[in-house]
């Protein structure tokens, strides 16, 4: 790649169930202004704008058709991107690519979802294979109920372990001013919440959130001029797998999660991820995803994830903190969610996460996004080049 790139500004809205006070464009505008303020830049400094959300979740397509005033893309180059749950990460990667190509010095990325306006499950159903899968209509809950069921069978994990990680997530969310659900949960609260699809309980699943996030990305030279604390985007990768055959159920090791993280580690000389990475912000729309996927990301040995939950390894103060922000299970404005992972990881690298800054000093952060028919985006952020 021609240019090294850094994140020089981050922004997000306060995430809520409903935002009747703003329209979609105004919601994005809040995040864009926050990111520009954080970078201490104005729109004049921005060379290109990349934006995204999930098509159809608000009942519309191509929001960029009428959002250019609010996102700052008027008469600027850029593009709209939609890739399901990974949208926010793919939008971020597109911004990294824009800057890394050498064609643009400073690029703005913005992503959002306003789930108080549409029918997410109706929208989600439209992305399934129209012949073989659309009729089942289980959405994300069905997918993660399967993940949980399979994990319990394979590893001897108990429901308590899911509850432990859910309480951990809530502790982070309660310290994160932007998080959506802040519930002061106990293990019992989680264990007693309503059963949705066995073994999935209400509190195992993310909320439907409204929110937006934005990043300002710059080439190396401009990044050093803009900020004293650039967060270097060391690497990023997207891996797809095939949904139609649900390979990951039949061949548990063969997932896009595993491949994407392995590629990042290999390319960056990381042999012991949990030791060499200081914090991870991973995409877990259900707490069963977090529990089952530690091993997919090679954080721990297969089947060890629930033991980590018992030991508190991934707590904010733990040896290997995961999702100190409270994660997706506390806040899920779909199109923005994967970008929030990168925003939060960047704050951790800068040491600017405030009350949810992890105890371990952060030089390297790892983020993931997962979505649609099982594809994964992973990024590696670092404090120094």
């Amino acid at each position: 790649m021609a240019e090294r790139v850094a994140i020089v500004g981050v922004g997000q809205t306060y995430h809520r169930s409903r935002r009747p006070d703003v329209n979609q464009v105004e919601l994005m505008n809040e995040a864009v202004r926050a990111a520009l303020d954080d970078a201490q830049l104005t729109l004049r400094d921005i060379d290109a704008v990349v934006m995204g959300n999930m098509e159809l979740f608000e009942g519309n397509y191509l929001v960029d058709m009428w959002a250019s005033d609010g996102i700052g893309s008027y008469l600027k180059p850029g593009m709209k991107i939609t890739t399901g749950g990974t949208t926010g990460a793919t939008v971020s990667c597109a911004a990294f690519n824009h800057a890394a190509s050498g064609l643009f010095d400073v690029v703005l990325a913005v992503a959002f979802e306003k789930q108080d306006e549409g029918d997410t499950t109706a929208g989600l159903n439209s992305v399934s294979d129209p012949l073989w899968r659309r009729w089942i209509a289980t959405g994300a809950m069905g997918a993660f109920a399967r993940v949980g069921r399979d994990y319990i069978r394979r590893t001897g994990c108990k429901e308590e372990h899911a509850a432990m990680l859910r309480v951990k997530a809530d502790k982070g969310a309660c310290r994160n001013p932007y998080a959506h659900l802040k519930l002061n949960l106990t293990i019992e609260d989680v264990m007693n919440s309503r059963m949705l699809m066995w073994p999935m309980r209400l509190l195992h699943m993310c909320p439907t959130s409204v929110g937006a996030a934005a990043l300002v990305v710059a080439s190396e030279k401009r990044a050093k001029q803009i900020t004293k604390k650039p967060v270097w985007v060391k690497d990023w990768v997207t891996v797809h797998e095939e949904s139609a055959t649900t390979w990951s159920m039949v061949r548990p090791g063969e997932t896009s999660l595993e491949k994407a993280s392995r590629l990042i580690y290999q390319r960056n000389g990381i042999t012991k991820p949990a030791e060499e990475i200081d914090v991870a912000e991973i995409y877990e729309p259900s707490i069963w995803g977090e529990l089952a996927w530690y091993e997919q990301y090679h954080f721990c040995e297969p089947g060890e994830g629930w033991r980590w939950a018992e030991k508190g390894v991934t707590d904010m103060e733990g040896e290997f903190p995961v999702n100190p922000s409270g994660g997706v299970v506390a806040t899920n404005p779909i199109g923005a969610t994967a970008m929030i992972r990168i925003v939060e990881a960047a704050l951790q690298v800068r040491g600017d996460a405030g009350e949810h800054q992890v105890s371990r000093p952060v030089r390297t952060a790892f983020t993931t996004a997962w979505g649609g028919s099982n594809w994964t985006v992973a990024t590696l952020l670092t404090k120094s080049l």
């Binding site: 329209n23 464009v25 105004e26 519309n60 005033d69 609010g70 549409g118």
Partner: protein, 147 residues
């Protein structure tokens, strides 16, 4: 023997609503309750936008100043629709055009009525005809007619 392709029919139903937002809410209420057509002014660029929006795309200022742009304007361009489509709001032939309201610097797409299609012209002065029962959307203006 020729075989027909095997087809599985389907239909997506995607309900939605749209929160109108900070400034457009006020503008649509003024349209519904008082038959007033409102835009928003950017003092930095000295431009008035209709429809109103919360941010000036040119200078990125946050906009606050709602101003009445009036119900009269000029046809910037137009076309006559002769073919029929299910999404069309009325039977062809009908005319739609871009109308610059006198107090605005932008063009509003809308219908042109009470005139033979062949008599419409670019530069024609038009004025809004309001519905009797208004609901708070842009079709509270039925169409624009020649002044």
């Amino acid at each position: 023997m020729r075989q027909e392709p095997f087809v599985v029919p389907g239909k997506l139903v995607v309900p939605y609503r749209y929160f109108v937002g900070r400034l457009a809410s006020k503008a649509l209420i003024a349209l519904r309750d008082d038959k007033k057509v409102m835009g928003v002014r950017c003092p930095t660029c000295n431009l008035t936008y209709m429809p109103p929006r919360s941010t000036c795309g040119r200078c990125f200022s946050k906009l606050e100043e709602l101003v009445e742009v009036g119900d009269k304007g000029t046809v910037l361009t137009y076309t006559v629709v002769y073919h029929k489509e299910p999404v069309h709001p009325m039977e062809p032939p009908f005319v739609y055009g871009l109308i610059k309201l006198d107090g605005a610097d932008t063009a509003l797409p809308h219908f042109i009525g009470e005139v033979e299609p062949e008599k419409v012209s670019i530069g024609m002065k038009v004025q809004a005809v309001f519905k009797d029962k208004r609901e708070g959307n842009i079709l509270d203006i039925k169409y624009f007619k020649p002044q």
